[in-house]
Each structure stands twice: as C-alpha cells, then as structure tokens.
C-alpha cells in the first residue's frame, strides 16, 4: 500500500485545466495528451554496460545521468537530497537530476510510453495506478535489486528490509515497487494531556467507551477522523475486522471470495464504530485530513486515527508540550488477532520499463535503502524507513511510540490489498466507510453493500483479477 500524506486542496489552475482537458471535456487538448502517449519508439538503455562489482552491482556507467522524481508530500524531499549526496560519494561521475513534485501522475504518466524518468516515486493523491502500470508492462521488475548486496551493511538488500516490505512491493510473483517508508497506523493521543488528567490510554473498545464520558466532560470530543477522504476511516475499519476475525477474513475479502464479507464476526467487529457514531463521540463537522489533525492538535478531540506521517505533516503547528503518541487500534474481548499491528511499507519507487538509465535507477534505490540513507530519512521525517534500524538513534515521542508499538505487536502485519487491486472497489469502500462514519449506514448495511460491490467487481470481465496469497 502506498499511502501518503498529501495536500489535496492544492490544485493549480494549470493542472486542473490539463486534467479537465485530459478528461475530454474540451476533447481537443484531451486527445492532444493522448496522442502524446501513442506511437512511441522504445528507448535504448544508455546507462549500463560498465563492469559489475560488489560496489557497482548493476554496472552503472561513469558519465551517465539519472533522472529521479521525488514526491514532495508530507515527508518533504530533503531526505532524498541527502540520498543524492550518499549516491554521489560512491559514484561521483554519475549525474543525478532530481526534481520533486506533488503531481506524479499528471507529470509522469504522459511520458511513460515514450521518455520516462529513470526513477519515479509513485505516491500521493495523484499517483499512477499500480496494477495498471504492471499490467501494461510499464514498470520494470526489480528482483535483481533484492538479491544485490546491501549498500553499507552485510547481506543483500532484501535482508536489510523490515518485514512486509518485499511482500508489499510484489505483484504476480515479481517485485516491482520499492517502498522506502515504513508506516504504522493507530490511534494517536496527547500523552501529556492524558497524564495531566490521569487518564490511561485505552487498549480495548470497552476501555474507550468507559473513558469517553470523562473526555466529554472536559469539553472535548473523544474522537475525530478525516471525513473527506474515505481511505482514512477505511484503515481503522479494516484493522477492526482483521483483529476480530483474523487474517484469513481479510485475505478472502481481497480475493473477492464468494460471501467473504458475510464471514462470522465481521459485523460485530464494526459495531463499535457504529456505536461511536451513534453515541455522538465524534467531533461535529466533516473535516478533511489537515483540518481534523489540527482539531486534534488544538485539543478539540482526544483521539485521531492516522499513520505515522502525522508528526511530520503537522510539524509547523504542533503546540509546545504536546506529546504526540500512537497506540494500537482498539480491540475487543474475544478478538482472534488482537496483537496484530496495522503497519506497512509505503512511498513506493518504480523504475519505468522504458527508462534510459535503469542501472543507475536501481543503484540509486540501493543508496536510498542504505543504513546511512535510511537513518537520514528517519531523522528528517520523524517516520521509520523500510530499512531495519532506521529509527534507532532518533529521539522523538511519536517515533518512539511507533517503535514500541511495533515491538509489542505480533509479527503479522495487518494489511489490505484490494484497494491496490481494484480501483472500483477502492472507491466504493472509501465511500461506504465515510457513510458508516457519518451514521448513514449501520455496520450490517455497510457489510451488505461491500459484499454487493465486491460481487460486482468479481463479475466484471473487463477487470483483471489479482490474487493475494500472503
């Protein structure tokens, strides 16, 4: 899953016009864009061919250039500039042309079939659909990167990665997407406030519902969430399903298995959310991600559910003394996998199949995943990198609580694959998640509608089906 902190509101006029055009509203420029994509000639690789060695496993040629495009979202792009320094220390004669943007798809998609960049960080709201990229053969399989020696530690690159990173980037048995960040999701609270009020952070729904009246008595809303982007509440709902019913239930849902949503316990897993809404424990208003996060920082709500990029995204407005702390999603008694943590690698880099210098692109990935590079990443972004040990030397309450959450959790990570597999089901589940959180659907209705949406995708022959195994 590549999920990232992005800025949704910023749509420049130019981008919008371009989109509107591409959408065929003006039909003319639309097809202009389309024509740009057609009739391409395959480009030849011009960066490889040098002698391969342990320090240059892909044979990057001196004097070649590599174009790297970085998504400049909640994590910023400073960390990537540090990677450039690390890369150039080993390859001083390879030119790195780095640019950063928030509009990955708008800028990179039209070039994919002709002259793509060598290395693209496919992330943010405006990202290219991963399944489409793979199905169309537009990106390169990176299996040889995994078996290459790590940049500055023993063993291979694969050995140096946190659990789940390779699986997250694999589709149809091949490794395509190199996720460089490691994200943990959960319920955030202000530890300083909790210790001042003498509250203990709940670990179960029962604890939470017992604490909620005390929070309300202080004039705070117990909970706030992003009510505009449906994938925010969806994380929480799926964490509840996984914890209550276990991994197999979610795997079945991902695989569009007949009646997967009707499995025992799924409705019960979602009922606490229904209760949370019905008991009016949510902050009033339909806030978006930054608005809701600011409301949390302003002390209007006690809990917010979001991933570990929160700290970096809101860095500018965190009040002094605010101890941002993440805790695991709440479970209920009888849950089958209460200890599983919702975490995954994200912020995926891809190498386009038609990139002129794929060798240097892979070499640059090796630099990003290095010990030095990942430590810089954690230091600058206050988020874990997907390389092991990146956060060991960073002092920060958010990062430390995420670290300990990972250490106390079981080794199985909660993950959901169908949003990456099926765009329709992705959109439908986002919409329905928000409907549930708006109180317009009960848990039972949510499950029924999800089953119907899944059945529709399963029956649609124009959609290529995917299978989740692990």
């Amino acid at each position: 899953m590549s999920v990232s902190p992005e800025k949704f509101g910023d749509v420049s006029r130019r981008t919008l016009l371009r989109r509107a055009a591409a959408a065929g509203l003006l039909a003319a420029p639309a097809a202009g864009l389309l024509s740009a994509c057609a009739g391409s000639e395959p480009s030849k690789s011009d960066g490889g061919g040098a002698a391969k060695s342990k320090d240059n496993p892909f044979g990057v040629k001196d004097g070649s250039a590599v174009k790297v495009v970085v998504f400049n979202g909640g994590l910023g792009d400073q960390w990537a500039k540090e990677d450039k320094v690390i890369f150039n220390a080993k390859h001083p004669n390879v030119t790195v042309n780095m640019s950063s943007t928030q509009k990955i798809k708008t800028e990179e998609q039209p070039k994919m079939a002709t002259q793509p960049s060598d290395l693209v960080m496919n992330s943010g709201a405006d990202m290219m659909d991963r399944s489409t990229l793979i199905n169309e053969g537009a990106i390169e399989s990176l299996d040889d990167l995994l078996t290459a020696p790590a940049w500055d530690s023993e063993g291979t690159v694969a050995d140096s990665l946190l659990p789940g990173t390779v699986a997250d980037g694999t589709q149809n048995g091949k490794f395509y997407v190199v996720n460089v960040a490691y994200t943990v999701w959960g319920n955030w609270y202000n530890a300083a406030l909790f210790s001042k009020e003498g509250w203990t952070a709940p670990t179960t729904w029962d604890d939470f519902f017992a604490l909620a009246p005390k929070i309300k008595a202080k004039g705070m809303a117990p909970y706030v969430h992003d009510a505009v982007h449906g994938y925010y509440p969806r994380w929480a709902l799926f964490a509840s399903i996984w914890k209550a019913v276990g991994k197999q239930a979610v795997v079945d849902i991902d695989n569009l298995k007949d009646g997967a949503w009707k499995a025992d316990g799924i409705v019960a897993a979602l009922e606490p959310w229904e209760k949370l809404v019905k008991d009016r424990l949510l902050l009033p208003g339909k806030l978006d991600h930054t608005q809701s996060q600011q409301a949390f920082l302003d002390g209007k709500a006690a809990f917010i559910q979001v991933g570990t990029w929160l700290k970096n995204e809101m860095a500018a407005t965190i009040p002094p003394g605010f101890e941002m702390t993440i805790s695991d999603y709440w479970s209920k008694s009888g849950d089958k996998a209460a200890k599983d943590v919702f975490a995954s690698s994200g912020e995926g880099f891809v190498v386009p199949s038609k990139a002129p210098n794929k060798e240097a692109a892979k070499e640059f990935l090796r630099a990003i995943l290095s010990k030095a590079g990942s430590a810089k990443f954690a230091e600058l972004t206050k988020s874990l990198a997907s390389t092991k040990g990146s956060g060991d030397n960073v002092q920060d309450s958010a990062l430390a609580s995420a670290n300990s959450l990972m250490k106390n959790g079981s080794s199985d990570l909660i993950s959901v694959k169908f949003p990456d597999f099926y765009a329709d089901l992705d959109k439908e589940s986002q919409n329905l998640s928000e409907e549930l959180m708006a109180g317009r659907l009960t848990a039972q209705q949510f499950v029924d509608k999800m089953q119907a949406a899944a059945d529709k995708v399963a029956k649609d022959s124009s959609i290529k089906k995917q299978t989740r195994t692990a």
């Binding site: 749509v11 065929g24 389309l34 489409t132 505009v228 765009a423 329709d424 329905l432």
Partner: protein, 313 residues
C-alpha cells in the same frame, strides 16, 4: 484581381487552419479512435473493440447517475444565472429613478457593476478553494461560524454543505451548494453582457413605455426582455456548456471527487475516474465522445428553438 484576393485570403488562413486541424480537429479524431479500443493509458498497445465501450456506457449505473446530475445543472445553472444576471443588469441600467438626464440605474450602479463582475476575474479553482473556507463544516467556517454565533445552527450539528448527500427537492444537497457557487461566479459576467445589450436599446422606447404608464415590472417583461432575446439565447448555450462541465467545483470541493457516496458524480468525474484511476482510457474516451455529441446536439437544438427574426433598432 479576384484571383489575387483569393490567394491573399488563403495565405492568411493557411497557417491558422493548419494549426486548428492539427491541434483541435486531429486530437478530436484521435479521441474518437481511442474510444473504440481498450487502451489503458500507460502503454502504446491497444486492442480494437468496436462499439463495446459505447454499449457498456448504457448499462453503467454511475453514468446514469452522472447524467441526471448534469441534467440538473443543465436546467438550473442557466435558469438561475440568467435570471439573476437579468435582474442585476436591469437594476443597474434602467432600474433607478428617471430624471432630466433620462432613465438610469440605481444609485452607485457603477460600483456594483465592478463588484458583481469580480468573481469572473478569479480562476474557478481559486473560487472553489475560497468557498471551501466559506463552506467549512465546523464552527471555523464563515457561514457555520456566523450561524452558530447567532444561534441559528447547533454547534453539535453544523451544516455539512458539500459533504451532505441528503436530498433537497429530490436532489442531493451537495448539488444545490455547488449550484449556488456556479451561479454566484457566473452571474457577474452575464450581467455585464446583458448590460451592454440593454444600453444599446434606445432610451426613447423606455420613455415611451413610461409615458404610457408602464411600471418597472412591465417595462422589464414587455420591453427589455424581448429586446434581449439574442443575448439571452447565447448566454443559455454558454451556460449549458458550463453546466455540462462543473468539473472544477466537483473535483476540488466534494469528498472523493464526486461524493459523498456518488451524490455529486458528473460526467467529468466519471471520465476522470475511468481514465486515471481505473486505467480504462478507451472507455473514458467513449464517455467523452458521447458527452461531446450530446453537447453539440444540445447547442444546435437550443439555437434552433430560440431563432427568431431580429428586431432592428
């Protein structure tokens, strides 16, 4: 001599026509071509599928929904924008007192003209972002904040604006809120258009009407409106195009770009979803082509209905 003129004209027109053919007509044709394929948008290979995409279009629930939402805008955007623009233009030009200088607009009409026209100089996206703050769904929003302060809205239950799918008069509330912005941002331009047209109506016609005892109501409906027929008709066609678009507002302002739960889905958002999220450019092109045909037919029909003999003055 005649021959020379023809050559001169051809020389002048060749370049623009070539540019037009290459950058406008050719891409049109290409889009139509892609609509017959299953192109995904990321590769240079595609399969010819004939009219499959068009057949699929008719059974697509989302398109049906989008169609009716666009029809809603198609009826309401021109209606309300033109009504408001006419009303403002009338007040600014002939709505005021008559005096020795003849008929004039209400006091301060020059300033009002600038104010009403102002939204027109803003980009639609800027307007959308600005209205996001006005429509903010908690006490920090301009409207909600005000209404909560004076006690008209409960702080625990603020107006949800574009996140509200509940039907009002059978149409999701979110569409009404978007309509309001569209009318607000469009009325100024058409007010100026109608003002210009009104100023070309000879003042003596009004004076004659007033001498005959016509009040403002009658002067407007019996004199002004019939003489503005051409302008109104053109405005109707333009606003029809805008109503079939509405992309910027939906894209920037609604949850999941067409939400909540498809309550504000329009053609453009469905095209965007199919092309860029689902990777079905071929199908998206088919929707776009269908929309283009629909638009052209509508414009032709509109101009046909309103065609009438021109009144010379």
């Amino acid at each position: 001599m005649r021959h020379g003129v023809a050559r001169f004209v051809t020389g002048f027109l060749a370049l623009p026509v070539a540019l037009y053919l290459f950058y406008v007509v050719w891409p049109f044709a290409q889009a139509a071509g892609y609509s017959l394929t299953d192109w995904g948008g990321y590769s240079d290979s595609q399969r010819f599928v004939g009219l499959d995409n068009y057949v699929r279009l008719f059974s697509d629930e989302l398109i049906r929904k989008a169609f009716w939402h666009n029809v809603f805008f198609l009826v309401t955007v021109p209606l309300f924008t033109i009504a408001l623009a006419l009303f403002l233009a009338f007040l600014l030009n002939v709505g005021g007192r008559e005096d020795r200088a003849g008929i004039r607009g209400v006091f301060g009409s020059g300033m009002y003209k600038v104010i009403f026209f102002f939204p027109q100089v803003l980009s639609l996206v800027v307007i959308a972002v600005m209205w996001q703050q006005i429509y903010r769904t908690d006490g920090q929003g301009l409207i909600n904040g005000l209404l909560i302060k004076i006690g008209l809205v409960d702080a625990d239950n603020p107006i949800a604006f574009t996140a509200d799918p509940e039907p009002f008069l059978g149409v999701p509330a979110v569409l009404w809120w978007l309509l309001f912005i569209a009318v607000w941002s469009g009325a100024g331009f058409y007010m100026v258009l109608f003002s210009a047209a009104m100023q070309s109506i000879p003042k003596d016609i009004y004076e004659a009407a007033i001498l005959d005892g016509a009040g403002r109501f009658h002067t407007f409906f019996k004199v002004t409106l019939p003489l503005l027929r051409d302008s109104v008709s053109v405005a109707w066609v333009y606003l029809g195009f805008i109503a079939l678009d509405m992309y910027a507002l939906v894209f920037v302002m609604t949850p999941s770009q067409g939400g909540p739960n498809h309550a504000s889905e329009i053609f453009a958002s469905v095209i965007q979803f199919n092309a860029f999220q689902k990777g079905q450019f071929g199908y998206a092109c088919a929707i776009a082509v269908a929309l283009a045909i629909f638009t052209i037919l509508l414009a032709a029909l509109q101009l046909r209905i309103t065609r009438r003999e021109r009144i010379e003055f």
